[in-house]
């Protein structure tokens, strides 16, 4: 299991995270990232790590 946090100040609403890990991330009506599951495990955790690598604004942190 990993802990997820995001820096909405950096987020540019590209939605890479929503596409890569829809169980972990969503966008609010303003387009900014929201965390749906801040301690994912298994496949969702792996997807969240992928999303961290894809995020163009480096707004996602994954803590072990």
């Amino acid at each position: 299991m990993a802990g997820i946090s995001v820096d909405t100040g950096k987020c540019i609403g590209s939605a890479q995270c929503v596409l890569a890990a829809p169980d972990v991330f969503d966008q609010d009506d303003d387009g900014f990232v929201v965390v749906l599951d801040d301690s994912p495990s298994g496949a969702a955790e792996a997807a969240a790590r992928t999303a961290r690598g894809l995020c163009p604004a480096q707004a996602i942190s994954v803590h072990d």
């Binding site: 609403g13 009506d29 303003d30 387009g31 604004a57």
Partner: protein, 389 residues
């Protein structure tokens, strides 16, 4: 050759659609490669995936063309800046850029873009109707690929249906090779005037469209909004059209991937049409991949180079949708990463579904060697794509 020798730029893609073969050689060299643009200016070329991403996220590197040393690629007078066109936010750095992005992202969320599917389907269907009404052959570029993105953007902006033909005709002039500079200037003047009129109409009678919502949001001035609308139009037209056409060529050669959703991401990576779009300049001394880049030196992060970097994408010249192509930088990276990317994915998906379902016998009407690729513009693509069905 050592890395200090100048290489001439721009380079061609003889094995189209692949990026210029020189990129593979550049990637192997230590540091960056110094190149001379046709204007005589020198720039640093960046071809490795990791370094393209670091250039596009480094705060010491700017998108603002008013900085000394900003690259000017061939045959253009240089990129417009937000000084020339208020609202041209692709050329603003943070924090000035933030306000525009914040104003626009609600209109481009995954949910919002999904809700546009029926409207995009209608546009694609209508475009196929019009193309097939003319006979059993066409130029797919002119008769389909250029129409769809223009109609989609006009619907997004809230251009009334009766004006869409006008809008489409003018936007086509902007991207057609045979247009003269004068015709282009005139078309963009007409479009700008039209957009300004649309903004004033929407401020009195708002609808459920992007312009009305941005006016109500109050984050942007009407003058900025007209620059934003022009940017959306220009950024989203030929880029999308070229991808649609190139994708048809690639899918017709490898028909097993038609209808496979993974094909879209791989097509974006494989063709990397916007290779020369993300231009930058260093505003402080900065080291990139072991290369010292001085303040005031231009940088060209080549997204086709990054997207064909074998360190990240094995057998990069193979079109293989079963690979994970996410992580490509066809839409750039960093704060300017393409605002329209989810709209592009939708348009490509709907366009291919429409074309291949309605025209199951679609084929290219000339031998592949005769296809005319665009080498000389900022965007890679096809001048024409003769097809029959």
């Amino acid at each position: 050759m050592t890395s200090t020798d100048l290489v001439p730029f721009m380079l061609r893609r003889p094995g189209a659609p692949f990026p210029p073969p020189e990129y593979a050689d550049f990637r192997e060299r230590p540091g960056l490669v110094k190149a001379a643009l046709p204007s005589g200016e020198t720039v640093w070329l960046v071809t490795r995936h990791e370094e393209v991403r670091s250039v596009l996220t480094d705060p010491r590197i700017s998108s603002n063309p008013t900085h000394e040393g900003f690259p000017r690629p061939s045959r253009t007078v240089g990129a417009p800046s937000a000084d020339d066109v208020p609202g041209w936010f692709v050329s603003l750095d943070p924090p000035d850029h933030n306000r525009f992005r914040k104003a626009l992202i609600p209109e481009f969320t995954v949910r919002r873009i999904r809700s546009l599917r029926p409207a995009v389907e209608e546009i694609v269907d209508r475009s196929i109707d019009q193309m097939t009404a003319k006979g059993d052959s066409a130029d797919l570029v002119e008769d389909f690929s250029l129409s769809v993105p223009s109609l989609v953007i006009s619907s997004l902006l809230g251009v009334p249906k009766v004006d869409r033909d006008f809008f489409e005709e003018k936007t086509k002039v902007l991207v057609t090779l045979t247009s003269t500079d004068e015709e282009r200037d005139k078309a963009s003047e007409h479009l700008l005037r039209y957009i300004n009129r649309l903004i004033s109409i929407k401020s009195k009678r708002p609808g459920d469209d992007l312009i009305s919502k941005l006016l109500q949001g109050g984050l942007l001035t009407p003058q900025e909004l007209s620059g934003v609308a022009m940017l959306l139009l220009i950024a989203g037209h030929e880029t999308t059209a070229n991808n649609i056409s190139l994708g048809v060529v690639t899918l017709l050669q490898q028909k097993q991937w038609i209808g496979d959703e993974r094909a879209i991401e791989e097509l974006l990576r494989y063709h990397s049409v916007a290779d020369l779009v993300a231009l930058r300049v260093a505003v402080e001394d900065v080291e990139i991949g072991g290369q010292l880049v001085r303040k005031g030196e231009g940088i060209v992060p080549l997204v086709a180079g990054a997207n064909h970097d074998p360190e990240v994408f094995e057998r990069p010249h193979e079109f293989d949708p079963s690979r994970s192509a996410t992580g490509h930088v066809a839409f750039g990276y960093g704060v300017h990463q393409c605002l329209g990317q989810n709209l592009v994915r939708l348009e490509m998906d709907v366009a291919y579904r429409g074309l291949f379902q309605r025209l199951p016998n679609l084929e290219i009407a000339v031998p592949l060697e005769e296809l005319q690729f665009k080498y000389d513009g900022v965007l890679f693509g096809l001048h024409a794509l003769p097809v029959r069905w």
